[in-house]
Subunit: 510 residues, 2 copies
């Protein structure tokens, strides 16, 4: 997200009715409750935790109409999009419940004893993933459901066995209270310990202070670079450092290769214009940078892109602050002599509507100005025209870490641009061929993450089932009697999960 | 390891012939070579990497006699122990080569496309673990082979596909040069890229500076708290933060429960005295803290422990600095009024021989003095006698993060001390029943790690095959044509590795 957002949301508060903010002393009580909840919650049975998760989904479904109305009022996102996002949120909860049901996610590893081994007997050692402790989650402005109260961060932490302290985003406080109520009701109805979840409506400085509390063991965040980096720095300075998973956005470079442009200029432009303007461009995976090779086909593509963009309108942005930051960013780009405007969309009448815009810059000017790698959160894009293949590769090499990198190409392009694919692999968490970066599939194989500054921890993903491992650590048990072991490591393997036993994957008991 | 070690090793340098240290400008050249080696190395075939690893083991075997002689001269460790450590190092290399051979470690996940899905088609997404880039490894004083040049950190990083910059430990420079030569010869003989490995003989400040270089992508360290924390802090302050895996030692608390002591006082004391004095107590897993419940059986155990310890001698410590730090630590403990001496071993004639010693303290005095949780690297132990069960649990709760926690118990003890096992699980990476913490098995299920301050990253292990994941990150490939995918993700699954395809583990092709 745009760096300015954080500062401007503070200003926004004065534009709408301020919700009551919690003082630190009250926040400390919630943290204490989360700490106290950790032991009983992590000891709860898998079936209990699955029941809790599915009940959250049920509670959200039950107030779907209220949720759409409230969130539409707060975010200006279209009702259809909000309804789809609620579906996504519910499906995600059931996906994690399914992961717990299947059970193998704990990564059970068993090395059996060999008392006869010389020179020393081999002990029995068993390992599995265990929860870290209370997790603080900071929700996103642009996904009031899927990356907010009951979004991927909260649900993966709860699935792992960690209580969650959720810091409400200022952009949609009423929606957050409604969803928070769903989780709290679900917790009560399924007998979860008091304190397993809490919504915290706090000022920004108090939000950062939460990270420094000794009982908080991990942090998940989706938002701006400034916001995420502030949390990372606060956590790194703690007497006991903790992991911070901050997803801080990206410009999602897209490379448009010559043969593709020769054969499919119009369709390619249409797909990218649609991706860039979707949701008023307010996605972390919005394609903000296109890289092309100088040629008549490229000129044709750019002209198509400009023309298609001129037909586009965007709805109102999430907050007045985000709109101001986007407009100021566009003005800044317009004032740069090395950029020219490729095309500009239409302005809708409604307040805070974003105007899509595309710029053009030469490869050498791009390489000379690192500010052009900054994210402008909204429907803007910069099209870099490289002089030759060497410069195109140089541009790939110069990229910062990204959530995604895309290449639009044909088989012919793939044959002649081999090194490009290798370089991009080191720049992003997700690589895409002939597809738009927007639309982050919630599945097992998704990586929504990437090298810094896209995230603060490139070893993780915040979308998909692998997100659960952000909140766990391995523990090994040596020479443990069966009854003292967690169920997943006992000889009987009653749940029939996949385990690595003496180096071999098996679902058998032993 | 003991906090004082870092400072005292600087002083030690003046006691022996100083090796020539590299200046920063030379170090930069090695880092540049490592960076250049990364792309060709990560593109090398699995078979090539396996050949490289096995050749390292072969080269080490070939100079075993030289290695034992040189390392004995530098570390004073007994030749039998050094020989065993070389075996362990070689076995570890073959274990990792076996992991690469089997191939499933890459955690391949495939979610296939569904073009018919509504409202939007489902894309094909495939994920696997990919190497991070050049890794800087800092070797340990106490394991000149298994935690040094070709030890677990280096071998797991090379296995992952990362070039290694190895910072030589001052305690055994000649041994390090010999082993470094083995890796360099193996690299040449198996056609690895120039720069895939380099030994750096540098001063401490230069060693820290390496962590700040933009081309270094991860750090592994085994040593003191001060040393590990300095590297962590340097990495966290980088413009682009990187992961630091510092294993900083531990006091490895051991709880001795009443029924166990009633039935097996003598054998328990013998096992713990042996573990505490093994290798002159110079293990990160040395049992430095025992916790017992006030009773006549405890008095009997303590008296046995003291008597048995009085019969022990220890060989010379690794360096004069480590010996000075240990002796000073023991003097400090002796001067504390709340401690009494339980027993003390015999002093051998040789220079820098450690004298084993055991102290006793009450539970409330222990709880009142956090300095008693500091590690004294050497054969010292503190025995805490708790007033009652509640205080014993309070002591468990007050513990810092540990590499290991142990409990000596019978079935009767297990029945009556349930909450103790739960608390300890949150304190350590490895939990042990009725076994000594020393002896870290190299296997799949080992966790040699644990909550801070035992390590800087509780999500990792530095021993065992899972150590490889410290140097990888997940990358996902969306809509990739088969031939552009890494071999492990192609439809054919030629290597027959385990993959999660649409949520099901399988070795089949698709």
């Amino acid at each position: 997200m745009v760096n300015q957002e954080l500062m401007t949301t503070m200003a926004d508060k004065h534009e709408s009715e301020s919700p009551t903010l919690l003082e630190w002393a009250e926040v400390e009580k919630y943290i204490k409750r989360a700490k106290d909840a950790f032991e009983p919650y992590r000891q709860s049975s898998v079936q209990q935790r699955i029941g809790f998760l599915r009940q959250i989904a049920h509670e959200i479904s039950a107030i779907r109409t209220d949720l759409i109305e409230t969130s539409h009022g707060e975010t200006h996102l279209p009702e259809g999009r909000l309804s789809g996002e609620i579906d996504r949120t519910i499906n995600q909860i059931h996906l994690f419940a399914g992961v717990l049901e299947e059970g193998s996610w704990v990564n059970a590893i068993i090395d059996t004893a060999d008392p006869q081994r010389a020179p020393v007997p081999k002990p029995d050692i068993r390992q599995m993933q265990r929860p870290l402790g209370p997790v603080c989650v900071y929700g996103a402005s642009n996904f009031p459901f899927a990356f907010s109260v009951a979004g991927g961060d909260t649900i993966s932490a709860l699935s792992a066995g960690c209580p969650v302290l959720y810091k409400v985003h200022e952009g949609h406080p009423q929606t957050s209270l409604l969803v928070g109520g769903c989780i709290e009701r679900a917790a009560r109805q399924t007998g979860m310990p008091d304190g397993v979840f809490a919504s915290l409506m706090v000022a920004r400085d108090v939000g950062v202070q939460v990270v420094t509390h000794p009982s908080v063991t991990a942090v998940a965040f989706t938002g701006s670079f400034l916001g995420g980096k502030a949390l990372y720095d606060a956590a790194a300075k703690r007497p006991v450092p903790i992991p911070v998973y901050a997803e801080m956005g990206s410009i999602n470079p897209v490379f448009l290769l010559p043969d593709r442009l020769k054969l499919h200029a119009e369709a390619t432009a249409a797909a990218l214009v649609a991706s860039n303007t979707l949701g008023a461009g307010q996605f972390c995976t919005n394609p903000g940078l296109m890289v092309l090779l100088q040629s008549p086909d490229t000129e044709h593509f750019l002209s198509m892109y400009g023309k298609q963009l001129a037909e586009q309108t965007c709805h109102a942005m999430l907050t007045p602050g985000i709109h101001r930051a986007y407009s100021a960013g566009v003005e800044r780009l317009k004032s740069m002599v090395e950029l020219s405007t490729l095309g500009e969309g239409k302005k809708m009448e409604s307040a805070n509507a974003a105007v899509p815009v595309a710029f053009r810059v030469s490869g050498s000017d791009f390489l000379g100005n690192s500010a052009l790698q900054e994210e402008y959160f909204g429907p803007a894009s910069i099209h870099v025209v490289a002089e030759d293949r060497a410069q195109l590769l140089e541009i790939a090499e110069a990229l910062d870490g990204q959530l995604t990198c895309g290449v639009w190409c044909t088989d012919t392009d793939i044959d002649s641009f081999g090194p490009l694919f290798q370089r991009l692999e080191q720049k992003a968490g997700r690589l895409i061929i002939n597809g738009a970066p927007t639309g982050v599939e919630v599945c097992h194989a998704m990586v929504h993450g990437g090298p810094f500054p896209a995230t603060t921890d490139t070893r993780s993903t915040s979308v998909g089932t692998q997100a659960i491992y952000r909140f766990t650590r391995p523990v090994s048990y040596q020479n443990y009697p069966d009854r003292l072991l967690p169920a997943e490591l006992r000889n009987g393997n009653e749940a029939g999960i996949w385990r690595k036993v003496d180096g071999e994957l098996t679902r058998k008991s032993r």
